[in-house]
Point group: C2
Amino acid sequence: MIIDCHGHYTTAPAELQKYRDGQIAGLKDSANVPAKANLKISDDQIRASLEGAQLKLQRERGTDLTIFSPRASAMAHHIGNETTSQHWTQACNDLIKRVCDLYPENFVGVCQLPQSPGVAPANSAAELERCVKDLGFIGCNLNPDPSGGHWTSPPLTDRHWYPLYEKMVELDVPAMVHVSSSCNPNFHATGAHYINADTTAFMQFITGDLFKDFPTIKFIIPHGGGAVPYHWGRYRGLAQDMKRPLLPDMMRNNVFFDTCVYHQPGIDLLFKVVPHENILFGSEMVGAVRGIDPETGNYYDDTKRYIEALPLSDAQRQKIYEGNAMRAYPLLATRLAAKRG
Amino acid sequence: MIIDCHGHYTTAPAELQKYRDGQIAGLKDSANVPAKANLKISDDQIRASLEGAQLKLQRERGTDLTIFSPRASAMAHHIGNETTSQHWTQACNDLIKRVCDLYPENFVGVCQLPQSPGVAPANSAAELERCVKDLGFIGCNLNPDPSGGHWTSPPLTDRHWYPLYEKMVELDVPAMVHVSSSCNPNFHATGAHYINADTTAFMQFITGDLFKDFPTIKFIIPHGGGAVPYHWGRYRGLAQDMKRPLLPDMMRNNVFFDTCVYHQPGIDLLFKVVPHENILFGSEMVGAVRGIDPETGNYYDDTKRYIEALPLSDAQRQKIYEGNAMRAYPLLATRLAAKRG
């Protein structure tokens, strides 16, 4: 089975954005927060939004299952207040649940969290629990910077985040470290903020002792680990100078990179330096880069082609496509067994 | 000639830090700003600080000339006020001038700028002019984030920076985009903030029209261009989706990456994807990573070894070591001719 660990519902029906627009408009008048009931999307609308996009691409590219979550750039935790984020998050997660119910063979859910700048991460635990226990999701996207580019929260290794981590461990679900849109004009969302956040998180994991406190917790750092594989020597050297663990030891059961790197030389490098046990197949289609690479004639984000071009054994390829995902998402095997009845 | 475009005076005599400590202590009492005259360093102290470090490594590694600037992490533009930064910057630049006078064959100067959060970049122009005209320097380090990790300044493509750019163009000197230490606990300085700033600047250059307004201005993005070469497909794809110029066209005469990438696979990737005309040899020794790589037995930052291992022609290698630096630093050839009398 070929599992794409990184897909967002970027093609959701326009009604979702209308709901969000109404919610944002309502922020001017706090009495006028739109109710969730205002969001009406039919099953046919959901089908139409996926058939020509994610499902078509799954078929064309030969992938089986996408670990699917709400659109990351639209999480925008910096907009409004805690209630805004709660309502928006629930609406987005409920919609992912409907996608997974309509296409149980094609999608399994990962949730957005109702984060908000200055709000304790503990307050996200209830929605995580709802999504895992009631909706059947297998993980969450954790935004290390709910401020949207101002980086006002403590590092991911700070005890600030521990109450949420305790819930993750209790539920046995990982977090993909994934920022949202940027309201800081310095940072283009998908071209700078996303990649910077990945790099930042990895360096925090090098310097902190998070995995002593949570030996079983798991994080996926998307977009190929940000800048890390390209600067693998730098990170090895920094860890060495600081007398921190070797990178493969630090990552072993706790940190995974996906393959959302949109050209062959980048993927080649990733597989050259990062332990294969810590790499999950991912494409983030339909996502940040939607065009066709004129140099190859293929979609930039058709990352399966790059993996296919690697000199991997069948056993190695199986790990990248499936085995490692089963390790990173401990609930995945159970969910798949349940789907198969 | 082998020109290392990226060296900082990280081994300056302890008196420099004592001066800085005094300056910072003086901030509590604004009447007590230490005068520049308080800083006394002898020529012998300068020689001792370099002989066993940068000069020894130049000899051992077989490099000739280092483009040398004050310690980047110590610029700390976020500390104190505009006067603090002015005094500290002048002291640091004057010391670089003394290094260059003592070892004219080995070093040529690049200056720190007296930036400060919220202070107009125009206010840095006078120190740049002093360094170029009076001290013989050939460029500057420009901090895109004088706030030290809070990113409160406008993007580098914003008109906010134009008065300084006008001075750069008038003097015909480039800027290396180089942040300093981070006072945001999210960002490890050399492991996250530096690399993030490089990535951020490149994405700003993709989206902005800076090189239409300043067709001859030149920027060096250090640390191998941050995350950019690893995500070259992503950046090509983003530029394509936004109908922006091809990356090699955008970079051609305006943007250069150095080779401060501390492992062979990273350097291999850099040379595979980035036009060789836009790569400058650099090591940043003695810098962020000081150890020896147990996998090779060589210093991580001995980047010349990685270049030597590349299948380049002599002409290509000459560009990387010298020719491209002459293009990126237009005053370099004149300075070298003057040194040789």
